[in-house]
Symmetry: C2
Subunit: 393 residues, 2 copies
């Protein structure tokens, strides 16, 4: 097993009717003036925002609100948030929403603490890490991105052409506390639920399929998450108010991306890197939908480099019998089973379902490889990426 | 799923050749004068202690040493440690050893910070929690107790007759950082390795078998740990220098007891409560050996109250085919399979193998039930405990 460092200190308060705990917990963490950050009006319509504000009021915490975070959160809006928080003397950020809202809050926190524009820390590996942030708490409404416990923060620079979507990866950006009430995901649409299921699976499989062996416990934990998400996902799609299914998805979202499943493995995330340019260039493409199309195609392209691990995944998670004479058959059957599962939960599996036709490929490939090939089992340059797109047609 | 709070902030530095990181990490955590706490001479003979001290020296940290912690660490020695640390102005505790050394350091830390005797916090649930401690770090040499990431601290009061062995359970006592190098467990004997395997499995199964359903992800994660420990345990027993097997056991030790496998479940730990009086009254009984004898007997006694969960465990971890007409057969086959596994790795399964004969039962039963029955699926009073002993003869 490869050496690793693991530290996931985010406190998680999980379950029904936990909202009254928000104010007291934030107060205990030293908050005095809180930015309540959210997206569209759904947290207002559902009554969640009122519960959050009441809890802050009851704890005597002053607060201001900033709604309007968009999917694929934008740098321009982050900058507005930083200015607002500076003017208002905010010392604590509370994200009420899904991954986009949390990532926006994380970027605001970095900007406030460092005094620098957060974009200077957004990088695929070459830019400096931020070493300070204002504390971020989350009230999660979507089981998907895992940002509620993760060291990731993905933002889109909408001030350049074409837009660029990349991540800040730093221990600094882990939220200090996250409030996870599965009931707050009851109203998530089937499509968004499906996107979340795919995203959770990807955070797990991108860490699993790295070409490294000898991390048996890490792989077993990953399989536990995948198996749970497979079953709970079906149930949540069929009955959006199934509390236990929503609970399993929500907790899986956090554990899939807090690095538990990465211990002893190298972080590469090639499929995320293939996907980000899609949603950067086509803002209407949901991240989970892009992954649903690209992951199986990537898998078919690279399966020959890690056949036994793909076969193990196929056997343990997708129930494919191991063909000891030809494990590649098992491996490929597993990829097919996963793709059928994505179809079953209503997710796209072809590029044209994302509105992407062959004429659109070149700009996406150009953006994907702008800083060089995508690192995977082999380097994925323009030619390899084109081949992956063909496998997704 | 039941509501829960999860927070396991201990930083883990895992792998080969990590000892030079100890000094710098402790310094970054604010240590200035460190108590290096250990047990017998094995950490001296192995050279580990020298590596630890060199790292502290290189970081410019002053330190004193206190060896001699015994298995089932004693309150009298903890008090000596507190006095020594006060005299010497120690501000940081570094445990180099297994669970006993770590638990001794945790108790010293609580005593130093609160100014109170730590025994006043040792309780099965009725005494106050400590809310302060001096920071504790660990350099682990035994994959077993899980104390390196846990909120548990078990000490034995050797100043009363009969001795009493109970735990402090508090978030306060989680170590701030743990250094886990699997090579430091290469020289652990087969018997102690077996004790560790059993202890890790128990920490997982005591949380799994609580009579609560609807925590699918938690149960799958528990099964991942159990399956890994089953396989890695065999390998480590057969080849003590199998790095990957030792690594899986070590990481499983930490994850089995940091509460990851308890999310959405009620903490009861009946078999630990049945076992502690054995090692309190018979100091030569290893905790893991006591558990190896008592767990299968307890399981046979309570299986009828949670048949489907025992059957699920049997199917998923011990490979027993599910008998849908009579799941109790599957459940019982699973208990048998586990007991055969314990025998295979050299652990005792009968009370007489612990040196305990029927004439010894009554004092142990008296101590076990001194504060009332042990809570499990049903209350375990003297009669039920006697029946469990019969199942372990």
């Amino acid at each position: 097993m490869k050496n690793f460092t693991y530290c996931a200190p985010t406190k998680v308060v999980f379950g029904r009717d936990i909202e009254p705990q928000i104010g007291p917990e934030l107060k205990a963490l030293g908050a005095t003036r809180v930015l309540v950050h959210f997206g569209g009006g759904s947290v207002q319509r559902s009554g969640l925002l009122d519960k959050v504000l009441s809890s802050l009021d009851a704890a005597g915490l002053s607060h201001i609100e900033l709604g309007g975070v968009s999917p694929n959160p934008k740098l321009s809006f982050v900058r507005e948030g930083i200015e607002l928080c500076r003017r208002e003397g905010v010392d604590f950020l509370l994200a009420v929403g899904g991954g986009s809202v949390i990532d926006s809050a994380k970027a605001i926190g970095v900007g406030l603490a460092t005094g620098n524009d957060p974009w200077q820390y957004a990088s695929t590996g070459t830019r400096p890490e931020p070493h300070e942030t204002f504390p971020v708490a989350t009230v999660l409404t979507l089981a998907a991105a895992g940002s509620e416990m993760s060291n990731s923060d993905v933002i889109t620079n909408d001030l350049v052409t074409p837009w660029v979507k990349v991540g800040i990866t730093s221990e600094t950006v882990r939220p200090v506390i996250s409030f996870l009430n599965p009931e707050n995901t009851f109203t998530v649409s089937k499509f968004q639920t499906g996107c979340g299921i795919v995203d959770i699976m990807m955070h797990t499989m991108e860490r699993y399929l790295t070409g490294e062996g000898n991390a048996m416990l890490t792989e077993r934990l990953a399989e536990a998450i995948l198996t749970t998400v497979r079953d709970a996902g079906r149930r949540a799609i069929n009955n959006p108010r199934d509390y236990d299914a929503r609970a399993d998805l929500m907790w899986a979202s956090s554990l899939s991306h807090n690095d538990l499943t990465g211990c002893g493995k190298t972080r590469k995330f090639p499929v995320h890197k293939l996907e980000h340019p899609f949603s950067a260039l086509h803002d209407n493409i949901a991240h989970g939908a892009g992954l649903s199309v690209l992951f199986p195609a990537w898998a078919k392209f690279v399966v020959r480099y890690d056949t036994m691990k793909f076969a193990q995944l196929a056997e343990r998670v997708w129930g494919c019998p191991m063909d000891y004479d030809c494990p590649e058959r098992t491996a490929r059957a597993g990829i097919d089973a996963m793709q059928r599962y994505f179809m079953e939960i209503g997710m796209p599996i072809h590029l044209h379902e994302l509105g992407i036709l062959p004429k659109d490929y070149q700009p996406i490939i150009d953006l994907t490889t702008a800083k060089g090939p995508v690192k995977s089992y082999i380097d994925l340059g323009p030619e390899e990426i084109h081949a992956i797109y063909l496998l997704a047609e």
